[in-house]
Symmetry: C2
Subunit: 385 residues, 2 copies
């Protein structure tokens, strides 16, 4: 398979960006990434965009065409990929395949979501379309409640505590306070998290990622083009994707996200490494329990010991295995379609040693992990300097 | 690039399928295709699904996960691709790339749409999300009206007649009457078409494709797997995709669909052939004017002579260059996400010589052409025995 590298990254501020639109956010991130790569638009062979639902949030479908058009990149092939909150990660994987196939040499992969134009009361319903509508959402089970069930069971099975759930938020808010593009650039105390109001018991407000607007973009290149364009290409050495039962009612064990396990295994196998080789990871923490479950399922910690690892500071920025140096979905924000690409932006920024105040020392290999819904889809990428 | 073939096809009846669901339709087409290919589920490396908007039509997002799950194919990677009515064609292209990249050997590509569960009054609005919402749809320009503008201009520029627009429908209904899976399996007279009510002047009811439910599926395989699995693999010898201005207000010439021209050129170049080598084509006829414009833009006829070609019978089933032997979107039906895959099902069926009463004699090379919106996206594939 042809080798593929990331040669440019760009990201917008994440947050409630009422003065920008989906098309403008995407173009902003795209221009930043192309400038970073030093690639003029006419050299781009293909565009991929991860977006959960322009259809629902802003009533705009067919955004792949819109973005190619407004980006001044016609007639470049442009494709939208959707897998709920894993849309961005999957778009990266399609970009990788396009180059690996030989059908493209330079590919721009964006992720975007404009969520705050919809009414808050609609947003939860729109997001719930990523669950099994017939068996979950129509019966009232929205994502906070689904993840609450997973949290409660994890507490019951493994003794995971409310404090551990809260410490994920404290850590990620600390990291986010060092990220100038984060939605929430402030620290939160353990007390504040633990006293915030319940959203779905045991999950409180500060256990939940926010509804955000934002876009992120990366420029991928084949080996020869990467070496021509960049002094510090970041190589994609592993890619894994897996599907799991869309509904949690249909799983043997709701304390494990099978798709994460399988996507991780595929990515490690392709990279020829083990979880021990990973220096840091951006992990899908849509709710703090998700970070705990996923760092176990990625093989970083034994099942049931994720909460303890957070408590012991292992996953802190200066710990042995920093998790979510960007602030994660929790603090950086979660414009759903953008998230998977934003994770790659952070991994590349860290591996380039350009992460400023949140820089991880001597990072050589980083991992990104993006899931859709409650785990119906997972995608993992591994990057190396 | 690794060679890729189609080794299995499956399709549901198209129509108002009120007794089936999106998941059931997709699985039905998938099982037919896998049985046709003789491939057990455990040999499938990846799934791709083209779907315009489960989000809007049935409030179900994340359908890639749903389909892998309900298809009993977990944990196979599953990805949804969207580009409005070109979603199916783009899904085929992603499946092709997945195999060409070496990351998969056997890929199942489905296309599906469940449109008739929505109210008719909503459906036009949902479909209009594929136009530029800010500049077209919000101002009332739905697709019938956009194509009506294109038709009126084509009539003005080239003398295309209402009769020629109508003869496309007469031809496609004839073909559809020979297709047991078509939404409309009946002939229509020229008089009936020309006296049907206006939808958007000059387009009448019988100039418009219907709102349909349905699913189609193809099994793709790498060269070695194709030769193992099939005695008559149908090779994908060309693939082209291009973007065009999403809004027709932003085009130099609304009598041409630039994306069709560019996608066609890419596909011919990859296949190393010219339009003269094509024996038949499935062309995107969402409105009859679209067939006329696209057969010109694909290089089959000079600009302005598409209508005349239809009138002279060149594009009839027994003509020199049969267009839409399946009945096309007009008569076969247009479940939007399924259409691009259904076109491939027809092309393969014809090339296998298994098209029954609508079989084209001695067909060696066939082309499929699928567009999104009014031409913001186009994708062309070329197939050979």
């Amino acid at each position: 398979m042809r080798k593929v590298a990331v040669v440019g990254v760009g990201i917008t501020r994440f947050g409630e960006l009422w003065n920008s639109s989906l098309r403008n956010l995407t173009i902003e991130a795209g221009i930043k990434a192309l400038n970073d790569a030093g690639v003029p638009g006419e050299r781009v062979d293909a565009l991929y965009t991860g977006c959960m639902s322009g259809d629902m949030f802003i009533k705009q479908g067919h955004i792949a065409s819109l973005i190619a058009d407004y980006g001044g990149l016609l007639p470049v092939p442009s494709t939208r990929v959707e897998s709920a909150c894993a849309s961005g990660g999957l778009a990266v994987r399609q970009g990788l395949m396009a180059i690996a196939s030989g059908m493209a040499n330079i590919v721009v992969v964006g992720g975007v979501e404009k969520m705050t134009d919809a009414l808050g009361s609609q947003t939860t319903g729109y997001l719930a379309s990523a669950a099994d509508q017939e068996w979950e959402s129509f019966n009232g089970a929205t994502f906070p409640s689904l993840y609450a069930l997973m949290a409660r069971r994890h507490m019951y099975e493994y003794g995971t505590t409310e404090e551990q759930l809260s410490l994920v938020a404290v850590k990620n808010h600390h990291n986010g306070s060092l990220n100038p593009n984060a939605h929430f650039q402030f620290e939160v105390s353990l007390e504040k998290v633990m006293n915030s109001s319940f959203v779905a018991d045991p999950l409180r407000l500060f256990h939940c990622s926010p509804v955000s607007d934002g876009a992120a973009c990366v420029v991928l290149a084949s080996e020869d083009k990467a070496k021509e364009l960049s002094d510090d290409p970041i190589w994609i050495i592993g890619s894994g994707q897996a599907s799991g039962a869309i509904g949690i009612y249909d799983r043997d064990d709701i304390c494990t996200i099978d798709s994460t396990v399988n996507a991780g295994k595929s990515a490690y196998k392709m990279a020829g490494i083990t979880p021990k080789d990973i220096d840091f990871a951006e992990v899908h923490d849509c709710f703090t329990i998700a970070e705990i479950i996923n760092i176990e399922d990625l093989g970083f910690f034994k099942k049931g010991e994720g909460g303890k690892a957070v408590e012991e500071g292992i996953t802190s920025l200066d710990g042995e295995l920093p998790i979510n140096p960007s602030g994660g979905l929790k603090a950086k924000g979660h414009p759903v379609g953008a998230t998977g690409v934003a994770q790659v932006v952070e991994a590349v920024t860290q591996l380039r040693g350009k992460a400023g105040k949140r820089q991880i020392k001597d990072a050589e290999i980083g991992l990104t992990h993006n899931i859709g819904g409650s785990g119906g889809t997972a995608v993992v990428h591994i990057f190396s300097r």
